[in-house]
């Protein structure tokens, strides 16, 4: 596969997914070539491979014009180190720091060597994802040190700090925001996450494949179907199992239902955040109708555990199709009415427009992804460019904006609600007949796979390695919030503090997803 001037030895392991092993030096050259061609780094994670090859591993997923490239480098057991990639892809910074916290593998010459996921639940000398780390022994030991984190201080006349979190005023996930402000304007924001770190990757180790799907779906509950599908795609690839066509179409149906549920909720909250309680009440009424449809037709308001390895757990009959089709039409008509009100509402438009701007150039530089990326002219959508079944037959229209402000992120949500409602009607019409589940092929030897799904927030990626005994050896679930959180820090600059909740909500990033 040709990237830049070089022909890289990469194997196709699935539609639009490429795999290769290389030396750490080549990794640097490949990253530069991908960046020069306008690609991005999606994920970076490590693994303890000492039971396989006597060392550690560093893995990188890159987005290229031909799809996702997953490359790995073997690292020595004594001095596990790889070249810093954050100077090429700034979004790698926190991922590299997390890889050190969890595995003790080092990005050589990285500028920022502060801890990231680790607070005080384990000592700096311990690495929870090493196979010889005992999770339960660590649980019983008292917290080893007080958490101290070196924030970057802003000094000068009239500068003062506002520290917010980990507990916030509303129903929000835990995280800390350190604002440096002058008057009412934000001079700097620094995020400190990791509060929701609950050891998910360690939990996967040794788990059976079916339980792994349930855990993957709970990495970030609002993206349950995206994670469950990406995980299942990975284990199905690893075991070379085939899934019935109807099950794949139903997975897409679930994913689009999830996208609509989240977008409706966000559109309501964004109205609420600019004091339009009417918007909250209306969109949450529609969302509740949507969730009640989900539990009635599929048995769960958020479709938890409907996607399982080998297929799906719940089918839909002709009456269900008719009911869902009718509901999409009613919701669409109502959302179009509400869109006119949002468009006409002067104070809402005033608060949305030119607030929290991420310019396209900055978005490209820092790797902004998903719906926030598309609102800043980053025209990537896995469903459009690199479609899996059934998206390869659905012609998804990508929603994009160039403004990069709160208004643009609202506009993308409206457009995606309409498009997903259309996709659902299309899926219901063309749903192939047949079974919805086939048992997985048993794993004969150690094997690996990768799943890649465009969730409502952005691309969700899950990489899986299965041991020869059929249990999970290493699972890395990657949330698009990893890339997007740093853009919230940038987007709020120069805005007033009271607009922070609005800007934050317009991204609506996950804490649990990247905290793992």
């Amino acid at each position: 596969m040709k990237i830049g001037d070089h022909e890289w030895r990469l194997d196709s392991i699935g539609p639009h997914i490429w795999r290769g092993d290389m030396e750490t030096g080549q990794l640097l050259a490949l990253s530069r070539a991908v960046k020069e061609e306008g690609g991005q780094l999606i994920a970076l994670w490590g693994s303890d491979d000492r039971h396989l090859n006597g060392g550690f591993g560093i893995h990188v997923a890159l987005l290229t014009g031909l799809g996702l490239v997953w490359v790995s480098c073997a690292l020595s057991a004594e001095t596990p180190a790889y070249p810093d990639l954050a100077h090429i892809f700034p979004q790698a910074d926190r991922m590299q720091r997390a890889a050190f916290d969890l595995l003790g593998i080092t990005a050589t010459d990285a500028v920022d060597e502060r801890k990231w996921l680790r607070h005080n639940a384990w000592a700096a000398s311990e690495f929870p994802l090493r196979k010889d780390f005992s999770s339960l022994a660590a649980h019983r030991s008292p917290l080893p040190e007080a958490d101290a984190y070196p924030f970057i201080y802003v000094q000068g006349d009239g500068v003062h700090e506002i520290a917010v979190g980990p507990i916030h005023a509303g129903t929000i996930e835990p995280g800390h925001f350190r604002f440096s402000i002058i008057g009412d304007r934000i001079l700097k924001l620094e995020e400190r996450l990791g509060y929701a770190h609950k050891g998910i990757e360690k939990r996967f180790e040794g788990m059976d494949i079916a339980s792994g799907a349930r855990l993957a779906g709970r990495v970030s509950g609002d993206s349950h179907s995206a994670y469950a599908w990406a995980y299942c795609m990975a284990v199905e690839m690893a075991t070379a199992s085939t899934v019935p066509e109807r099950a794949l179409w139903l997975r897409a149906l679930y994913l689009e239902i999830e996208r609509i549920a989240n977008h409706l909720g966000d559109l309501g909250y964004l109205g609420n955040d600019v004091a339009l309680a009417f918007g909250f009440a209306q969109f949450w009424r529609l969302k509740e109708d949507w969730l009640r449809m989900s539990i009635k037709l599929f048995g769960h308001r958020y479709l938890f555990d409907r996607i399982a390895p080998g297929g799906v757990a719940t089918d839909i009959d002709a009456a269900g199709c008719a009911e869902l089709d009718a509901l999409t039409r009613r919701i669409e008509a109502e959302v179009r009415e509400l869109k006119i009100i949002y468009d006409e509402h002067a104070t809402l438009q005033d608060r949305f427009a030119d607030t929290g701007i991420c310019k396209p150039e900055l978005a490209a530089q820092l790797g902004l992804t998903g719906l926030a990326g598309r609102a800043s002219a980053q025209t990537w959508d896995v469903r459009t460019q690199f479609p899996q079944v059934p998206y390869d037959r659905l012609d998804v229209n990508m929603a994009t904006q160039r403004r990069g402000d709160v208004l643009a992120r609202v506009e993308v949500r409206f457009a995606e609600v309409y498009e997903s409602l259309r996709l659902i009607r299309d899926i219901l019409k063309r749903l192939p007949a047949g079974g919805i589940h086939t048992p997985l092929q048993p794993a004969q030897a150690a094997c690996e796979g990768l799943g890649w799904v465009e969730g409502w927030r952005g691309e969700v990626m899950v990489a899986v390695r299965i041991a020869a005994d059929g249990t999970l050896d290493r699972v890395h679930p990657h949330d698009p919030s990893w890339q997007n959180w740093p853009l919230v820090e940038m987007g709020v600059l120069g805005n007033i503090v009271p607009d922070f909740p609005l800007i934050n909500k317009s991204f609506n990033l996950s804490y649990s997803g990247p905290d793992l």
Binding site: I167, I200, G221, E337, H345
Partner: protein, 177 residues
């Protein structure tokens, strides 16, 4: 223009609020001696502070849903508050991550007595899929005392409301005195 459209939409939508469910006393895990006295004074008006102690954010979706128009919690006297110092009930979701242990204890201590703790969701009640590990303390009652446990992954808004009402309702066994 916008005001006219808003009024038109409100009139067309009408009322969607539904009657409240009954409290579910079976969800209680302990009774507090003061409960009866408190309830005499305050009735069912209750202020809640929510803390996410490490949840996957699934339970948060249902807390948001509970604030929607179908459930009309304001009409029941139930109100979410920004500060623990103003509340009667601490609603906790998630297993308690070790990184949230100190913050959760501090929030609990900041609530004036008497107070009730409602643990919401499978993880809060049992530790759930995340269990106890180097990074997780497991269920809420491993860290602070819990009065009501609402199971489910996530519990529906109705189940959550039944749990909240059970914490503060008048039919507790010791509520006759």
């Amino acid at each position: 223009m916008a005001s006219y459209l808003i009024l038109q939409k409100i009139l067309k939508t009408g009322f969607v609020s539904e009657p409240a469910p009954q409290p579910d006393p079976a969800l209680r895990t302990r009774e507090q001696a003061l409960q009866a006295e408190i309830l005499k004074v305050f009735g069912q008006a209750v202020a809640i502070r929510h803390v996410d102690a490490g949840s996957c954010n699934g339970c948060e979706l249902e807390i948001h849903a509970l604030n929607g128009p179908h459930y009309n919690i304001d009409g029941l006297g139930v109100k979410f508050s920004a500060s623990p110092r103003h509340v009667d009930v601490l609603l906790v979701t998630g297993p308690v991550s070790r990184h949230m242990e100190a913050a959760l204890k501090r929030a609990y201590d900041a609530i004036p007595d008497p107070k009730w703790v409602v643990a919401m969701g499978e993880c809060a009640c049992t530790g759930g899929m995340f269990g106890e590990s180097y990074a997780s303390c497991g269920k809420i009652s491993n860290v602070i005392p819990v009065d009501v446990e609402v199971p489910g992954c996530p519990p529906t808004p109705t189940a959550l409301l039944q749990g909240i009402l059970a914490a503060v309702s008048k039919d507790a066994p010791n509520a006759n005195g």
